[in-house]
Symmetry: C2
Subunit: 239 residues, 2 copies
DNA sequence: TCCTCATTTGTACAAATGTACAAAACTTTA
DNA sequence: TAAAGTTTTGTACATTTGTACAAATGAGGA
């Protein structure tokens, strides 16, 4: 099969700036801002200054291109997260540790730890968009690649907040990821609603704000202090 | 122009269950789960048990269909939110008031206040997906329709937490909306990560969890207790 | 130099897309 | 019932889509 040629050229591709790289980068950008289906192979080729045929040559299919983008980023980002998580776990003070854990989760999502310059935020935005679109390729990889790490983070947070049921920590970490995604997807909304006094695209500030808010949300008293199963409360929704 | 016939039949359409209604409903469902571009007019027609031509007849274009979905929901949801907000503002205790405001924001997003059964969550999910896809039609309507309400909520929250700079409240309400969106987009992730002990699709529980977490996040001490402009801190991101 | 291989190009094609429109079917009004 | 209206259908059409493939181009080793 022709994959042989692909894998041998893989190392070379990392070294010299190919069309292959340009295509990957352009596709990442376009997918992240417009979604998977709104972007055609021709759009990508044009943005990369390449021929449509080259896309097929390097990645076989459009799905293959998306897959390659994921493979390119998932490893480094997960590794970075795990490193930071390991360091955070060694923090003695429980409050400080919680904050360190949250930062370990958030930071790699904004700035990639690998050589890919500034790709972290772009890739995270891509993930946000793919998850919103319910993209099947993305769903499979994400569940395989990130669930272990997510569990590790949830467990670490649980250790620093033992009195809160694990299920509630899951909820809150889910909210954290949603907030993170949404900030990367529509940063201009923050600027608009704050009437210009905050810049949603300022990654540094976004991280600080998100960390502060998330730590507080994790520390909130549990809804259900004892049982692990859910209990209804004063909800008056009429669904 | 032929819009005259449309507006006269509008009232009738609301009364008897037309193809028009079926198409709207099917489109909403499909757009909300697959995104705008992944769904073809033919898909919608088939799901509604209608002919592709009927879609063109009633809504002229695919964009027109999306527009109609928004027009259908925005009014009622905003009205409901404002009612609940007005009630929340009358709560004396500041802590209770904050919680009431947050619920006033969240509740209508899960269950529509109008006659459209259970459409609230569906429509909110649709908005989440459209915002992720960067859909232009949606972006315009959303900014026009929801920004006033968003400002009203932000101001109300600010009143109940006067020591926190408004910009930080904007950040945190942004996070709230992101968390809300993400919960509606991928509820199964909550079930998976909690190993079945929480159900992300349970709207009642989601509301409780989200309210609890958000209230705590709003109450967090501000990053910058004095100046309204942002200050950098220990961020080590390398963008 | 020529040969070999990887890459890039240009073009082709079937399938799917949004939309248009005439004819048919159904409703309402007189 | 007949006429006038609205709604639904069926089909057609120009574009755009993802992908395939032969030819052209380039680079490296003998």
């Amino acid at each position: 099969m022709r994959m042989a040629s692909k894998s041998t050229s893989n190392d070379l591709a990392a070294r010299k700036p190919n069309l292959r790289e340009a295509i990957l980068c352009a596709a990442e950008e376009l997918f992240a801002t417009n979604g998977f289906n709104a972007v055609s192979v021709r759009d990508i080729a044009q943005a990369a200054g390449a021929n449509p045929g080259s896309v097929t040559y390097h990645f076989k299919t459009k799905d293959g291109l998306l897959l390659e983008i994921y493979n390119r980023h998932c490893g480094p980002m997960n590794r970075r997260r795990c490193e930071l998580l390991a360091a955070a776990r060694r923090v003695r003070d429980l409050q400080d540790r919680l904050e360190a854990i949250v930062r370990a989760y958030v930071l790699p999502a904004f700035s990639s730890g690998s050589d890919l310059a500034g790709g972290g935020a772009r890739f995270t935005r891509l993930r946000a968009v793919m998850s919103a679109e319910g993209n099947e390729v993305a769903r499979r990889i994400i569940a395989q690649t990130f669930d272990d790490t997510s569990h590790a983070f949830i467990d670490a947070i649980h250790e620093s907040l033992p009195h809160i049921p694990r299920a509630e920590i899951v909820w809150r970490s889910h909210f954290l990821l949603g907030a993170l995604y949404y900030t990367l997807v529509t940063p201009e909304r923050v600027a608009r609603l704050s009437r210009g006094s905050a810049d949603g695209a300022d990654a540094g500030n976004a991280i600080e704000q998100l960390a502060r808010a998330s730590v507080a949300s994790f520390q909130a008293p549990p809804l259900d202090p004892s049982a692990p199963s859910r209990r209804r409360s004063m909800t008056q929704n009429k669904t």
